[in-house]
Symmetry: D3
Subunit: 163 residues, 6 copies
């Protein structure tokens, strides 16, 4: 029912979107790590880093938003399978060379398909949340370079970005 010659597995052989049948795939330990960044001015970044101590924890709010978003992935991405997520962690680090915040999400499951979309969704929503909290100060921020950096488990094996 998939579409081998085109490689677009989310469509059947008549080009109709469907949720791929994973019924016969084994339950295996899977992990995915994704990364992205919010780019901003140095002044805006300074506001966030100072804020952690006493004016408000932007990164703490974004981290939580990312974790909660990972659980909503199958509700947001039309053809994603619902998966029993077993771990979500977000790492947000200040990068003065961007300048901006780098967001990295790690997601694990013991399910029948990978958790790449969960990791990418967690990064995206954490970045959007940073934008939301700081937009009163700078509207020209941009979200950059959201990509998968690691995926392991399942038949297709390990994928890792060359750095």
């Amino acid at each position: 029912m998939s579409h081998p010659e085109s490689g677009l597995t989310h469509f059947d052989d008549q080009g109709r979107a469907h949720m791929v049948d994973v019924s016969d795939k084994p339950f295996t330990a899977r992990i995915a790590v994704a990364r992205g960044a919010v780019k901003m001015s140095a002044e805006t970044l300074a506001l966030i880093t100072e804020g952690r101590a006493k004016k408000g924890d932007v990164l703490g709010v974004a981290r939580l938003a990312g974790i909660m978003a990972a659980k909503k992935t199958a509700d947001l991405i039309p053809l994603c399978h619902p998966l029993p997520i077993t771990k979500v962690a977000l790492d947000l680090t200040v990068d003065p060379t961007l300048p901006g915040i780098v967001v990295e999400a790690t997601v694990k499951t013991g399910g029948q398909t990978g958790v790449e979309m969960e990791a990418l969704t967690a990064v995206s929503v954490a970045c959007l949340t940073i934008y939301d909290m700081v937009k009163a100060v700078e509207k020209s921020m941009s979200i950059e370079g959201i990509h998968l950096i690691l995926k392991d488990g399942g038949k297709s094996g390990r994928y890792e970005t060359k750095l």
Copy 2:
């Protein structure tokens, strides 16, 4: 209750996150336009453009995912106000120079706060959906340059990206 000296309005004067009080703001016509892109190899892009005709409409699925995501913004972004969205449109165009797909979202409301986050969320989820549908072919795609290009309505007035 906002935090004037820092500009981080999502925190009160003790640094605690809150949903800003907009009770006294007038209901005005508001619009926001956001843009972003999914970057991929020329081969992958060819697969998508050919697919529209007979192998599966990747852009059609992504457009719908973006429209539905705009309606979930207040559920995803912790401190966003729920807003009565009155229009959502997504424009997805093939850009061979990237190569990739450029996603633009336009959102309108007649509410008390702006719809920037709705437009940015629509773009993000449409990009994630493209990634999901094509990832079997190329895992090294990246989501780039999600940013606000226009915002109008409300007290803070018009904002437009310099192109």
Copy 3:
């Protein structure tokens, strides 16, 4: 931006799905009434009617499911606008001539578009809930004749089914 010659307003002039712009439509009192039925054997219907008293209130559960579903309409139907629903009521009546249960939903709003979809969704989910609660006894039930019987308010005026 709508598509006048075809009448399919949910697509723009290039055939792309969008959420129609209702920004300039006035806020008016609107009402919609929809109806449908679950058809079953006389024996199954007897089980439900007897159950109300002491074995379990199938209709009470279905009524509540329908009310809650009306609130989820914009989340279920891709191009529906979120609307501030001001009233939802479901009327479930036993019809021995079907035999089965007739479900009628009335929904009101003070918004910019009609609540037909909210009423039809409430009826559909109430019917599905009846099916769910009785399926252990009869799997051959069917949901029949879900249709709009009244719509009023808004520019297009009153619509009423001829009985």
Copy 4:
């Protein structure tokens, strides 16, 4: 705790609604297929079939809505168990003899209860979405004959509608 003499398993022996205990049921491969239709005038149907090519893909939008709705079943039907869906496919075919659109949904899981409600919910929401997209042209459409046509897997065995 179930209610054997009445057969209404969703109520305990005092007639109180509950989510049935399936803890001790085995995980088995399960499938369900459901069908339904949207009946309309021949003119309206012609608009949809012509539209696929250039005016807007009504069936493509409805298919996606049905797939996404299958994932929301446990959120819509009060006493449904959440299930790890492993496949959802919708088949929408034009039937000039109705005249209208026939919707068929196939859902699979590897869980402890059946996916009948997921298949029926997918059909219902796809039908509602067709109604939504075409209602500007014809309000007198009706949704007809939503029923289960196949169910297999689990202790109760195979069920198939006699055609």
Copy 5:
């Protein structure tokens, strides 16, 4: 349609649950404040208060969970109307005399019904989140005294708890 002699407005005169018709009520500024507490041992409380600085901000996570829950009230409470919330703030204070954490939520809207349920839901979910984050240390915590302390706006006027 309400039930004047019993005062249970959520049921019609035949005892059927419905979402009350508020179509004709004016849009007015409304506020509600609710309070509750999580009671625990002094040792557990010490862990939370020390944690704020370096081991993890339990109260920050609970505050955010409460804010987000306020937006889900109409999805959780079957007969609640969806409301355009214009402000949510949560105040969590350490009370060594309980010992425990006191949670207070303030919610505002400009809608047709009050926001008591939004404030009470925010308090409840913030308390549940505290429980969740500390349960590995103490399972015997309890959530106590969730009640409305202030309500204003709307026809029924001001309500305030006597302290």
Copy 6:
């Protein structure tokens, strides 16, 4: 990655919130029972108990709200894992000595973490729903004593409240 010296497992060793990794925990049968109560005046309680027969089933609506809320736990509590719930039952009893309604929820799963939060969430939302349905009559009701009374399954073993 957990935080052994503090016992706050929902934070890593740098105090950042995360969803704990349960990937390597076995799937075991788990049960949790929680309890709480809504305290009200004897007059209000009389209204509810009389209502069951003919004026409206407050307890039936609250029971259903509690069952549905158990399924939303991972969506409400930020760091909760999504779990395949296999049973939810709510028991609501009239207690004239309070006076009020005592709510008890029993939840089961076959997953990798416990269902305490699901049981506590079910109790909380059932109590909130009682409040909502009766608040037109008495605003001074309070929700009291929500606590865990039993937990079994998993490595940490059986926990039971001393009565």
